[in-house]
């Protein structure tokens, strides 16, 4: 059996009277992209901070790269924090070299590797500019370079796509896939569910400090099938009893079902309505977006054990 790169077991942390994380467990295996999801304030960042030894856990066990976190392991980890930070009054190139040196890279090696990254992320011509002169997107890309320049084995990226335009989002996606292909283990925390669907093989969903969903993305989606229906037809599909949310997607109607409501109930309700013409009615495989909303709002999926 493969040894996990990261193992978090029954993790808890309180700040004063506030329980930030409670009994969170997950494992991340070598070479996978693992998604850490959850609404704002759910405890994702606190979990990551405990994992990286920024905070000490009150309870629970953490194993990173085969054991407890120590100083030597810091050089093997690349971390893109939620709170982006670069020295604003320093020039880009020396800042990135300094940060790489703090990760154990020699100055010569950092200088050798840096130009390729700067060129790839379209920052080469800006390397002598002060960080504060760069746009938010440029700073975001620069921070990504700082995360990857020392070629870490474990990459922890918190909201890697925030502030990026579609072109740069695609570029960062490609880079993440390349890192995975190179055997790196990646933990990605994000709110952008379509990115999670596109990139992650497994996820953990944390809500109110607790782990509420955990497993392979495909399996989770299969478990949640039946909680939504897709309808092709004409008429008013809004305010249908048993439907939590109705939205149009490419001309079809996508109806998310409320707790306790089944597709049959919805079909009957629609059939009883005047002016409704149904051409197609099928049980939809829910998107991660749907699953996120159902889970966070405390709904129980019908087929989920």
């Amino acid at each position: 059996m493969t040894t996990p790169t990261v193992m978090v077991s029954h993790l808890s942390k309180s700040f004063g009277t506030v329980r930030a994380v409670e009994d969170v467990s997950f494992e991340v295996f070598p070479g996978e992209i693992f998604g850490l999801l959850g609404p704002n304030g759910a405890g994702k960042t606190t979990s990551i901070r405990m994992m990286l030894d920024i905070f000490t856990a009150d309870h629970g066990e953490i194993s990173v790269l085969g054991g407890k976190m120590d100083e030597a392991k810091k050089n093997r980890i690349g971390y893109l924090p939620e709170e982006r930070g670069l020295y604003k009054d320093l020039k880009l190139e020396p800042t990135l070299i300094f940060l790489a040196r703090l990760k154990g890279l020699s100055e010569a090696e950092a200088k050798r590797r840096l130009p390729d990254w700067l060129k790839r992320l379209d920052l080469y011509d800006h390397r002598y500019k002060k960080v504060q002169e760069l746009s938010k997107g440029m700073q975001q890309k620069a921070q990504l370079i700082a995360t990857l320049l020392h070629e870490p084995e474990l990459i922890v990226i918190d909201e890697p796509f925030s502030g990026l335009d579609p072109v740069n989002t695609r570029l960062v996606e490609d880079i993440i896939r390349e890192q995975q292909a190179a055997g790196k283990t990646i933990i990605m925390s994000t709110h952008q569910m379509h990115q999670v669907e596109a990139l992650c093989s497994r996820i953990a969903l944390i809500d109110k400090g607790r782990s509420v969903l955990y497993g392979e993305v495909e399996q989770i989606k299969r478990n949640f099938a039946g909680n939504a229906v897709t309808i092709t037809g004409q008429g008013d599909f809004l305010n249908v009893p048993g439907v939590l949310e109705a939205r149009q997607v490419n001309g079809d109607w996508h109806l998310s079902l409320a707790q306790g409501a089944g597709p049959q109930d919805v079909f009957k309700a629609l059939a009883a309505r005047d002016g409704i013409k149904i051409e197609r009615f099928e049980i939809a495989e829910p998107s991660l977006d749907d699953i996120f909303i159902w889970t966070v709002q405390g709904m129980q999926e019908p087929n989920h054990a």
Partner: protein
């Protein structure tokens, strides 16, 4: 350990490449050079280079007519010219060929009286002493060489305290002020570098780099590296200023007699060096804590100004150190951690500071520094992770107790 030096080097270059640092560091030496140049110009301009005449009615100044060069008190010593009689001397004075003339009367050996006649401006000390020296040299030519040497140069007085720790040699009062200036200078450097450190810490918070830092190195490496880097900055400032002062004094002493009497009080220098490191650490600890607590550098600068007052407090009591250097207040300020360094500097030239006061002062400042650095690391850890929030005293105390997490 390597990362510690990477931070120190980074911090050093980050500060020393700033225009404000260059201006701040070079301003004081340039000011000093300017003052010294002005003093030299004033001395040179005010110096009358015309010869001084003398009329030797006693016939005592015949053996040596030109003073040996060892008596020269500057690059352009005024010449002494023998004149035949008072009439000739008077005529030369009226023609402004000479600036003044001495009359050594025939009964000088019994009367010990000498007259100096000048036109409108009396020759100053160094010029008068040239004639004194000429008389001494001539009167002592018949004596054995070693006795003549002593008679010509007079006594070499050293004033020393009973326990041997305080010593003033030479006859210049200027040496009393040397410790004062050294103390003042060290204080400026300690306070300015402390303020740099506060800025360096709050910058880290403002730039939100702390999570990247914490996952790259230990708080000790980060704080220690910054403190060492900034101490190197302070030592650079000290080095530049000390070198400028040394060169200025060497050059200035060629023109200004008072500067020749200056001697470095090495014992005081080493004592202050002993106090410098814990005082610097104490100031650093306080500044790190302040930098960690505030949300903006500007807020920290205001608080830093108030904290600097704690270290410069002895300046406000300077008059007491002059009038009663061993008063109870002086003792209290000597042993109080934030004021001991400067108080010792200010009292040094005035009195012999009791050894127990300095030992107690050093122990207290060292213990305070160790505690403050320890507490600051904990406050730093918490403060850095609470972006945009100002730490209150309660959470600060909680952080100190809990190890940096609230």
């Amino acid at each position: 350990m390597r990362k510690f030096w990477v931070v120190a080097k980074h911090e050093y270059w980050k500060i020393t490449r700033k225009r404000s640092f260059l201006l701040g560091t070079l301003a004081m030496p340039l000011f000093f050079v300017g003052i010294m140049t002005l003093a030299i110009v004033v001395v040179m301009a005010g110096e009358d280079q015309r010869p001084i005449g003398y009329v030797d009615q006693a016939g005592l100044l015949t053996k040596v007519r030109t003073l040996p060069s060892e008596y020269d008190e500057g690059p352009n010593p005024v010449a002494l010219v023998a004149l035949a009689d008072e009439a000739q001397a008077r005529a030369a004075l009226e023609r402004h060929d000479i600036q003044a003339y001495y009359v050594l009367p025939a009964d000088y050996l019994t009367s010990h009286q000498v007259q100096l006649i000048y036109w409108d401006k009396m020759p100053r000390g160094p010029m008068q002493s040239r004639f004194d020296n000429l008389v001494r040299v001539n009167l002592s030519t018949a004596l054995p060489a070693t006795v003549a040497q002593r008679a010509q140069h007079g006594i070499d007085l050293t004033v020393r305290s009973a326990d041997g720790r305080q010593e003033v040699s030479g006859d210049s009062i200027i040496n009393i002020f040397v410790p004062f200036f050294i103390g003042l200078f060290f204080s400026i450097v300690v306070i300015s570098s402390g303020s740099y450190l506060m800025e360096a810490v709050s910058d880290e918070k403002e730039n939100r780099t702390i999570e990247v830092m914490t996952t790259s190195l230990t708080p000790g490496q980060l704080i220690g590296g910054k403190a060492i880097g900034l101490m190197a900055v302070a030592l650079t400032q000290i080095g530049i200023l000390a070198a400028t002062i040394a060169i200025s004094l060497i050059v200035g002493a060629q023109f200004i007699e008072a500067l020749r009497a200056i001697s470095i009080p090495w014992s005081m220098f080493f004592t202050l060096a002993l106090f410098f490191f814990p005082t610097y650490a104490l100031m650093s600890g306080i500044m790190i804590a302040v930098g960690s607590m505030v949300t903006e550098t500007r807020q920290g600068q205001q608080i830093a100004g108030a904290i600097s007052m704690l270290f410069t407090l002895p300046f406000f009591f300077m008059i007491i150190f002059f009038s009663a250097p061993n008063s109870p207040l002086a003792t209290i300020l000597t042993i109080f951690p934030t004021t001991s360094f400067l108080t010792i500097a200010l009292r040094w030239g005035m009195t012999t500071i009791p050894l127990w006061e300095m030992i107690v002062g050093w122990v207290l400042v060292t213990v305070s520094a160790v505690f403050m650095v320890w507490a600051a690391a904990r406050i730093f850890r918490l403060g850095m992770l609470q972006y945009g929030q100002r730490l209150d005293v309660k959470s600060m105390l909680r952080a100190v107790r809990s190890g940096g997490e609230s």
